[in-house]
C-alpha cells in the first residue's frame, strides 16, 4: 500500500520567552496510507497543531523527515514547500479561517488560486453543492452559520484535489449536531476523492468514529517521557 504520509524521527522544539527551548515533538514513526482516515487524539498543548503545521510545511522540523506522496519536504526550500502545500495539502482549521472579504464561492476558489493557477469555477460550484451550500455561494462568511462556515472551509480544503487532508479539531467550535454532519462530510469527501485524512482532536467520542485512532502521547516520545 502506498504511504501518503510518512514521518520518521521528527523533532521540534520552540525557543522559550524566558530563554532556552522546550521540546514539543519527538516522533519516531507515523504513517498514513493512501486513502486512509486517521484520528490522532491528544491533550491540549500536546503538540497536535504543531505536528499538522510541520506536515503542511508551515513549520520546519528540527530533525527527521516528513514525506508526503514520496516528496520529502524537509529537503524543500520555502518556495518548494509553498508549492507542495498548494498542490498536496488540504487544511481544515478549528476556527475555519475563511477570508471575510470573500464570498463562499470565492473562498473555495482561493483554495485553488495558489496552486497551478487554474481558478476552476465549475469545480468550486460543484464542491459547494456537495457541502450543501449552492444556495449560499454569494454569502460572505459573516452571513453564514458556524456549521456552514466549516462546510465552506471543507470545500476550500478539497478544492485543489490534495493528497492529504489535515483537520485540526474541525468540530470544536460547532454544536454537536452540526459536528456530526461536518465529520460525515469530511469523511465522505475524502473517500470520494481518495484523499488521506489526518484529523487531530482531544475528543474521544470523535476519535471513536474512525477506523484507526492513534494516541499522540503514545507516538510522541516527549509526552510519554513527561
Amino acid at each position: 500500500m502506498t504511504k501518503t504520509l510518512e514521518i520518521t524521527d521528527v523533532t521540534k522544539s520552540f525557543p522559550q520567552p524566558a530563554g532556552g527551548s522546550i521540546q514539543v515533538l519527538d516522533i519516531p514513526k507515523l504513517v498514513v496510507n493512501e486513502g486512509e482516515q486517521v484520528a490522532l487524539i491528544g491533550q491540549s498543548g500536546g503538540g497536535k497543531t504543531t505536528l499538522l503545521h510541520l506536515i503542511a510545511g508551515l513549520l520546519s522540523a528540527d530533525g527527521g523527515s516528513i514525506s508526503v506522496d514520496g516528496i520529502n519536504l524537509t529537503k524543500l526550500s520555502e518556495q518548494g514547500r509553498d508549492r507542495f502545500r498548494a498542490h498536496s495539502i488540504g487544511y481544515v482549521f478549528q476556527t475555519f479561517n475563511l477570508l471575510p472579504a470573500f464570498t463562499a464561492l470565492e473562498n473555495v476558489r482561493l483554495g485553488m488560486t495558489f496552486g497551478a493557477g487554474k481558478a476552476d469555477n465549475q469545480r468550486a460550484r460543484e464542491l459547494l453543492n456537495r457541502v450543501g451550500l449552492s444556495e449560499r455561494e454569494n454569502y460572505r462568511p459573516g452571513q453564514l452559520s458556524v456549521g456552514q462556515q466549516q462546510r465552506v472551509a471543507i470545500a476550500r480544503a478539497m478544492a485543489a484535489k490534495p493528497r492529504l487532508l489535515l483537520a485540526d479539531e474541525p468540530t470544536a467550535n460547532i454544536d454537536p449536531k452540526s459536528a456530526e454532519s461536518v465529520l460525515d462530510l469530511i469523511g465522505e469527501s475524502c473517500r470520494n476523492e481518495n484523499i488521506a485524512l489526518l484529523m487531530v482532536t482531544h475528543d474521544m467520542q470523535i476519535a471513536s468514529r474512525f477506523g484507526r485512532t492513534d494516541r499522540l502521547d503514545e507516538i510522541n516520545l516527549v509526552v510519554s517521557k513527561t
Binding site: 503545521h53 509553498d82 502545500r85 482549521f93 479561517n97 477570508l99 472579504a101 482561493l110 488560486t113 495558489f114
Partner: protein, 465 residues
C-alpha cells in the same frame, strides 16, 4: 482569482478607509491637474494673443513689457506717446507725401521715404492711440487698416469678422469721423449695439467724458484675443476730441489755422457730413501711442528692431518674446510653487495610503497566514498588498484627473470668455502624462512598509488555532 481581484476584494472590504484614502489622493491629483491646466491656459492665452499677425510693437522708449501689455493686451497704465513723424518713418515716400499734403505738415517730410520703410515692404504699420476708456474697457484709436490687416486664430489665418455691422471707415457721410467698432465682450457687458453712441472718458475709467461721441457701426465676433475687450474708434475722430491734440510750439503752427474747430452744424443729425466739417489735426499736433508692425519678411524683424532701438525716441518690442520672459520670470515660478504644494498634497495622500494599510495589518495577518496555508508564497501575499496600494493610486489618479477635467469642462465657457482659449474635457497639458507614473511610484513607496510586514508575517502563530 488573480492577485488583482484579491487586492480589489480587500479594497472593498475596508470600503470606508479605502474610499477616503483614494479620495484624498484624487484631490491631490486633481489639484496637480488643475495647476497644470490653469498654467496651460494662461500661457496659451498670453502667447497666442501676443501676436495677432504682427511681429513688433513700436512705442516710446521705456519698458518693453509695459509697451507689450499696453498695446497688445490693453492692460497696464497708459504710456507716453510718440510723435506722428515717428509713424511716418515706417511709410514709403509716396505715402508720406500723401499724408503731409492731407494733414498739413513740414514739407521736408516729403523729401524722403521712411527710415524703416524698406523693412516693411508688403507688411504694415498700424498706429494705435490709447488712453481713453469706455466704461471699464480700453478705447483704441486706430485706422481701418487694423481690421483689414490683422489676423487671429491658432494659425493666424482668421480675419476679424463682425457679428453685426462692419469695420469703421475713416470718414462716412452718416457719422463723419466718429465711427466705432466694439469687441464682443464690450458689446455684451456695456449692452451696446449698432447705432449706439458712446463718449470715451479720458485717462482712466472714472475720468471725465469727452463731449464728442462715437457711433458704433460694428460689433466684432469673439476672437479670444484682448480685442474682445476693446472699443475701437477712428483715429481721426480720436484726434478731434478735446485734449488729444499735442500743444504746438510757435514754429509748428500750421498755415490754415483760421478754420474753426468744429463747424456748428455738426450736431444736426440728419445733415450729410462733409470731410471739411472738422479741421483735422496737423501732423505736428498728432501723436501715436504705439505702432503694430509687420515686416515684409519675418527675418527682417530683428534687424528692424535693432535699428529702432538704436534711435533715441522709439523702442521696438517683440511681444512673443516679452510674454515668454514674463511667463519665465513670474508665471513659471508661480506655477512651480503651486505644483510643489499640490505634489506635497499627493505625498500626504500617499502617506495616508501607508497609514491605512499599515493600520489594517493586524487584521490582515490572519488572512495572510490563511493564504499562506492555502499555498500562497511570501511574494504572493506581498504582491497583494502592493496591488492594493496601486489600486488606490490608479483609481485616485483617474478620479482626480476626471474631476479636474470635469471642472475645467464645466468652466470652459467662462474660460473661453475670459481668455479665448478653448478647453474641453479632453484638453490635456503635456505634463499630465507624468501624473500616473508619479502617483504609482508614490503608492509603491507607501506600500513598502506594509508589504515588508506582510512578507514577514509568521504563518503558524497567526492561524489562531
Amino acid at each position: 482569482m488573480n492577485l488583482i481581484q484579491i487586492a480589489w476584494r480587500n479594497f472593498c472590504h475596508r470600503a470606508l478607509s479605502s474610499i477616503l484614502t483614494t479620495l484624498s489622493l484624487s484631490l491631490g491629483v486633481g489639484l496637480v491637474v488643475l495647476v497644470l491646466s490653469v498654467y496651460g491656459v494662461i500661457s496659451e492665452a498670453f502667447t497666442r494673443n501676443a501676436s495677432v499677425g504682427y511681429n513688433l510693437v513700436v512705442g516710446p522708449k521705456g519698458s518693453p513689457l509695459q509697451l507689450t501689455l499696453n498695446s497688445v493686451f490693453y492692460l497696464s497704465q497708459p504710456i507716453e506717446n510718440l510723435p506722428y513723424t515717428e509713424y511716418l518713418e515706417f511709410l514709403s515716400k509716396e505715402k508720406r507725401t500723401e499724408l503731409v499734403d492731407r494733414f498739413r505738415g513740414d514739407e521736408s517730410l516729403k523729401e524722403r521715404g521712411g527710415r524703416y520703410a524698406p523693412f516693411i515692404g508688403d507688411g504694415y504699420a498700424i498706429p494705435l492711440a490709447l488712453g481713453d476708456y469706455f466704461g471699464e474697457f480700453r478705447v483704441v484709436g486706430t485706422t481701418p487698416l487694423f481690421f483689414e490687416k490683422l489676423r487671429h486664430g491658432p494659425t493666424l489665418e482668421q480675419e476679424f469678422t463682425f457679428s453685426i455691422g462692419r469695420a469703421f471707415k475713416e470718414f462716412s457721410e452718416e457719422h463723419s469721423y466718429f465711427e466705432a467698432v466694439v469687441g464682443s465682450r464690450v458689446a455684451k457687458e456695456m449692452n451696446v449695439g449698432i447705432g449706439d453712441e458712446f463718449f470715451p472718458t479720458h485717462g482712466d475709467p472714472t475720468g471725465h467724458g469727452h463731449d464728442l461721441g462715437f457711433t458704433i457701426v460694428g460689433v466684432m465676433d469673439p476672437t479670444g484675443t484682448p480685442n474682445d475687450r476693446a472699443a475701437f474708434v477712428n483715429l481721426e475722430g480720436f484726434y478731434l476730441m478735446d485734449g488729444h491734440a499735442k500743444p504746438l510750439e510757435e514754429s509748428d503752427t500750421p498755415e490754415e489755422s483760421e478754420q474753426s474747430e468744429a463747424v456748428e452744424s455738426a450736431d444736426v443729425s440728419d445733415r450729410v457730413a462733409k470731410p471739411d466739417d472738422y479741421r483735422l489735426l496737423s501732423i505736428a499736433e498728432r501723436e501715436v501711442t504705439s505702432l503694430l508692425v509687420r515686416t515684409e519678411n519675418i527675418i527682417f524683424a530683428p534687424s528692424m528692431q535693432n535699428a529702432i532701438n538704436e534711435g533715441f525716441r522709439a523702442q521696438a518690442a517683440a511681444p512673443v518674446g516679452e510674454i515668454n520672459k514674463l511667463m519665465g520670470l513670474i508665471v513659471g515660478p508661480l506655477k512651480n510653487a503651486m505644483l510643489i504644494i499640490t505634489l506635497i498634497t499627493c505625498i500626504v495622500a500617499a502617506v495616508g495610503i501607508l497609514v491605512a494599510i499599515y493600520n489594517s495589518m493586524n487584521d490582515r495577518r490572519r488572512d495572510i497566514a490563511v493564504m499562506r496555508a492555502l499555498g500562497a508564497r511570501r511574494t504572493t501575499v506581498t504582491n497583494i498588498i502592493i496591488f492594493e496600494s496601486l489600486l488606490v493610486a490608479v483609481i485616485g489618479a483617474v478620479v482626480g484627473w476626471v474631476l479636474a477635467h470635469a471642472a475645467i469642462a464645466a468652466y470652459s465657457g467662462t474660460i473661453e470668455d475670459q481668455t479665448g482659449v478653448q478647453v474641453g474635457f479632453l484638453t490635456t497639458t503635456g505634463n499630465e502624462i507624468w501624473i500616473l507614473p508619479l502617483v504609482v511610484l508614490l503608492a509603491l513607496i507607501a506600500a513598502l512598509l506594509p508589504a515588508w510586514s506582510a512578507y514577514r508575517t509568521d504563518v503558524g502563530s497567526n492561524l489562531s488555532d
